[in-house]
């Protein structure tokens, strides 16, 4: 580098030093001593925490390892995942319809949607689940036919509403009430001008909603919806009241037999953490997708950020000097 000796001097005031040379100088990033201090504190705390987990034999990590991938646990996990997927998909489908009803100009539709949301937000999920589970006590046969008229087909309630059906029904209907409010807030967050522009172009109603309003509403919907899905995923554990073999029910059954309460709870916890992490990653990418066009430049993904930080560090250590201006591309 051909930095002149005058580089350390003040900016060119009269005509002494050459402005081109100053413009070409590398930039030394501002120091962040507090960040380093905070980082050190966090590192020490994390080390203490890990030490606590590893050195205490009461955690019985061997038992955890034994059950982590046991077939019964994996089957239970699969059921939990299925319940989550059904609850999410059906819940948000119904919720979306409810939100549109609530926003429609028809007072009847809006009223019905409001009552639904009110009712299903008022009833605790566990009560609702038990209610569906016990539907057979109220009505032992279910028929499909003309209202108040003859029935075409009739089923025994017990057969139609299995514990699995009852669980999915309960979770989905419960989720729908919350999803309706999330979708509605998303739609309300879209600038009024967007709907007006779509209407002025003569786009059909359905197209306005699907192509113009909902994709923009997703920006607002996604963060809350992500919360809801993760909540539902862990919330599926309440279906243990119906003796359905999902993850939480299964570990209870096992530790009641073996007595290894803590290790088995740890197995469940680890699986909940793993899947929640996957969901969070998925959420990040979906959000990024819907940010398209809403921000001028998309923020980098954590991977990209890690990579560019690594490259910057490598460059700095290689040169032994400050990073060049402009950072990484």
């Amino acid at each position: 580098m051909s930095a002149p000796t005058t580089a350390e001097a003040a900016p060119p005031a009269g005509g002494g030093s050459d402005p081109v040379d100053l413009a070409g100088l590398p930039v030394r990033p501002a120091p962040h001593p507090l960040r380093w201090a905070a980082g050190a504190v966090v590192a020490v705390l994390a080390a203490m925490f890990l030490n606590m987990l590893v050195t205490n034999p009461a955690w019985k990590w061997d038992v955890v390892a034994e059950y982590m991938f046991a077939e019964s646990i994996l089957n239970a996990l699969w059921l939990t995942v299925r319940l989550t997927v059904y609850g999410t998909v059906i819940g948000f489908a119904i919720g979306g319809v409810l939100a549109l009803m609530r926003l429609s100009r028809s007072p009847l539709l809006a009223g019905v949607a409001w009552v639904y949301v009110w009712a299903f937000r008022s009833i605790p999920l566990i009560v609702q689940l038990l209610f569906w589970y016990n539907l057979a006590i109220l009505y032992d046969r279910l028929s499909f036919g003309i209202p108040f008229g003859p029935a075409f087909v009739t089923f025994p309630t017990m057969e139609l509403i299995s514990p699995m059906t009852a669980a999915v029904l309960g979770l989905a209907l419960h989720q729908a009430a919350y999803a309706a409010e999330i979708v509605r807030s998303g739609v309300l967050s879209v600038d009024q001008g967007q709907r007006e522009a779509a209407a002025a172009l003569g786009l059909p109603r359905g197209r306005q909603v699907r192509r113009i309003i909902l994709p923009q509403a997703m920006r607002t919907i996604m963060p809350t919806a992500g919360n809801e899905v993760i909540g539902l995923f862990k919330g599926t554990s309440v279906v243990y009241v119906m003796a359905l073999g999902e993850l939480f029910y299964r570990v209870q059954v096992i530790y009641n037999r073996t007595g290894d309460v803590v290790p088995l709870l740890m197995v469940a916890t680890l699986w909940y953490i793993v899947l929640t992490t996957l969901l969070s990653v998925a959420q990040f990418h979906v959000e990024r997708h819907y940010a398209k066009g809403s921000v001028r430049v998309l923020p980098p993904t954590p991977l990209q950020r890690l990579r560019s930080a690594g490259e910057a560090l490598a460059r700095r250590t290689a040169r032994g000097g400050p990073a060049p201006r402009g950072g990484t591309p």
Binding site: G193, L201, G202, L203, R205, R296
Partner: protein, 254 residues
Amino acid sequence: MSTPMVEVRGVHKSFGALEVLRGVDLTVGAGHVTAVLGPSGSGKSTLLRCVNHLERADRGYVAVDGELIGYRRGRGVLHELRERQILRQRAAIGFVFQNFHLFPHLTALENVVEAPRFALRRPAAEVEAEARALLDRVGLADKADVHPRRLSGGQQQRVAIARALALRPKVLLFDEPTSALDPELVGEVLDVIRDLAAAGTTMVVVTHEIGFAREVADTVVFMDGGRVVESGPPAQVLDAPRHERTRAFLDKVL
């Protein structure tokens, strides 16, 4: 005289107790450009919005190319049209907003393609070729795949004009198309409108650009307090206004 392209008769509109339009009449001949001037709050935007039925007039009617907008004439009554029919009518009326209202999640090209494709159901290939030609016409051929947020205000407004043109409307309505723009970007949008005027497009332009109105408009309409105070050729309304209020307004803006 043949049927006018746009005919507004006795339109009244109130928002609650506020009477915004108090009986507006307006006639725009085919291929003519009408500039609407008037102080803020005089009801210019509301009038434009009544023309394509974004606002429903309380009284009076609007017809475009002889077709009643928003209603069907019955015996002694006007039947309100269904939303679907109104949407179909709107496709014949281009609207350009002050704040563009481009769809931010769609590229410039997708913005232009959307309406002819899904409001008029025209074939994709044909629509896309035409959309590219329109973007070229407003000088943005190279921005087809860019999202609106990455365009300057003037470029966004030109995409919005291309989007409105894509429906091959019978009339184009502009609501202060340059008011949201930095001064140096106004010219590029006015140039596009000027070209459209030269090509014989029927337009109603609400504007505060008096010079532009003088140059491009066939008719200048001055509105105040929800009424048309006077209208006529630019030379008459702008240079020799008959009404005191027109004179006062022009003194202020010139």
